[in-house]
Amino acid sequence: MTAVIEVAGLTKTFGSVTAVNDVSFTVEENKIYGLLGRNGAGKTTLMQLLTGQDFATSGSIEVFGQSPVENAKVLQRVSFIKESQRYPEDFKPKHVFKSAPWFFANWDQDFADRLIADFRLPVDRRIKKMSRGQVSAIGVIVGLASRAPLTFFDEPYLGLDAVARQIFYDRLLEDYANHPRTVILSTHLIDEVANLLEHVIVIDEGRIIIDEDADTLRGSATAVVGTSLAVDAFVGTREVLHRDGIGGLASVTVGGLSEKERADARAAGLELSPVSLQQLIIRKTNLSEKEFEVSA
């Protein structure tokens, strides 16, 4: 698989704050990546560095094999849709959809028109006077219809209501299936997008703590529930990600279990409970915090 992005030792500091801390990873072509993390973890900064909108303090970035900074050849193939996108004074959506095709060679007007209808976007109204959800929809439509080989979505769907978000996920999947491209979604609404992702990168306080295939990650944790005795007996020496309990009951999150181990657990009267991607990432994020505390 070709790498469209290669990052090595990337760091970005704003004065005394280190937003991105010695980050290294690779993004492979034509996959949907989730860039996940809490608010302020460094997702937006990272995306701004990858798209040449901000300048790295140190480290290297290669997009399509070259540095993206002030590089028209690379940036023409990239679309970066931000949540806080501001539009020129007195612009209406129709001006955005009129100008976007000039900059994105793969722009599909039919697709854009269908999306405008799907999101019920009034194209002839001043953007200044539109609701947050409608403004977000503009960004989403540009990101989808641009068909840019590398498309970033930086939480642009936060302003959208649940129905509109579902429309976005469905259209994204559908279009990605028929016209593959590399998509990077950043969000802190992990559960909503969990099934869309093929690969997950989790960033916490500027560092990457998870960089994993989504299915592998999903299979890497299970919650074992039952009486404390039975649970502890089953868990034995396995690594424990999280422990919860009331009275004589315990719920312990452990690493992935094979089908046989699952059967054994059930036979022992234990219940195996799902660990959503969101919960898994929260558990691992907490763990990493502890690691940092210990090493500090």
């Binding site: 909108q53 002030e70 001006h95 000039w102 793969n106």
Partner: protein
């Protein structure tokens, strides 16, 4: 599954031109509104001339006519263009970055748009000034487009002056906005403080060394047209400065 067809990448010229187009994507702000306001200001002035001038004796009319040559009615449009430039840098710049435009292409494309708009407005106002002359001040002895600021030469001179003046306001506006985008409020403050020191300091220096006459001689020597031509130097400095400032600017929220 179809693969993406990667159309041939755009040439540098195409990239610059499409940025210029971007500034005109919504012609309302850059074309329609300015002309509308010129029209409204003209109409207001016309009404005033009608009321005042038509009630005067011929001799008084001449006096009034002389006063009108200092009419600042046409000044507004220059300030508006400066605001257009400021918005182009402070708002449209981050937007264009989202379209994958490089800072270099953005500045060059904007410069192209500024030059184009300057040419259009200079031409338009010159035509209006010719009509003003030909009709003896719109039949009322009024003056707006042939104000003394634009010299008393023939229309080619006026065209040059208008053009140069527009360029000045565009690029100075863009340069100041670049300072804002790059260094925000602090940068702007520093900029104006430094500018203030230079201007006041310069004026103080000239006063204390009684050298104002040198300034006067300079402009007299250059002549009316020449003095305006010198403003091109300032415009060029603003343009180049703006470019280098914007090159490292980031669209921070």
């Amino acid at each position: 599954m179809t693969t993406l067809t990667d159309h041939a990448p755009a040439t540098p010229l195409q990239r610059i031109v499409r940025v210029a187009k971007l500034h005109l994507a919504n012609p309302w702000t850059t074309v329609v509104v300015p002309w509308m306001v010129v029209g409204i200001i003209f109409a207001a002035n016309f009404a005033i001339w009608w009321i005042i001038l038509s009630n005067l004796d011929p001799s008084e009319k001449v006096d009034a006519g002389e006063g009108l040559q200092w009419s600042g009615a046409s000044m507004w449009i220059f300030v508006y263009m400066m605001v257009v430039a400021v918005q182009a840098i402070s708002i449209t710049f981050p937007f264009a970055l989202g379209y994958g435009v490089t800072r270099r292409d953005y500045y060059l494309g904007s410069a192209l748009a500024f030059v184009g708009l300057s040419a259009m407005y200079a031409a338009g106002l010159t035509i209006l000034s010719v009509i003003e002359e030909a009709t003896g001040g719109w039949g009322l002895g009024g003056r707006m487009f042939t104000a003394a600021y634009y010299g008393d030469g023939a229309w080619p001179e006026r065209l040059f002056i208008y053009f140069v003046a527009f360029l000045f306001f565009f690029f100075v506006g863009a340069a100041v906005a670049s300072v804002w985008v790059r260094w925000r409020a602090n940068g702007l403050t520093v900029f104006f403080v430094v500018l203030g020191f230079i201007l006041i300091g310069g004026a103080a220096l000239l006063t204390f060394t009684a050298s104002w006459y040198l300034v006067g001689n300079f402009f007299a020597g250059a002549g009316f047209l020449g003095s305006y031509a010198w403003s091109l130097v300032l415009t060029a400095i603003a343009a180049v400065t703006g470019f280098f400032i914007l090159r490292r600017a980031t669209p921070r929220a």
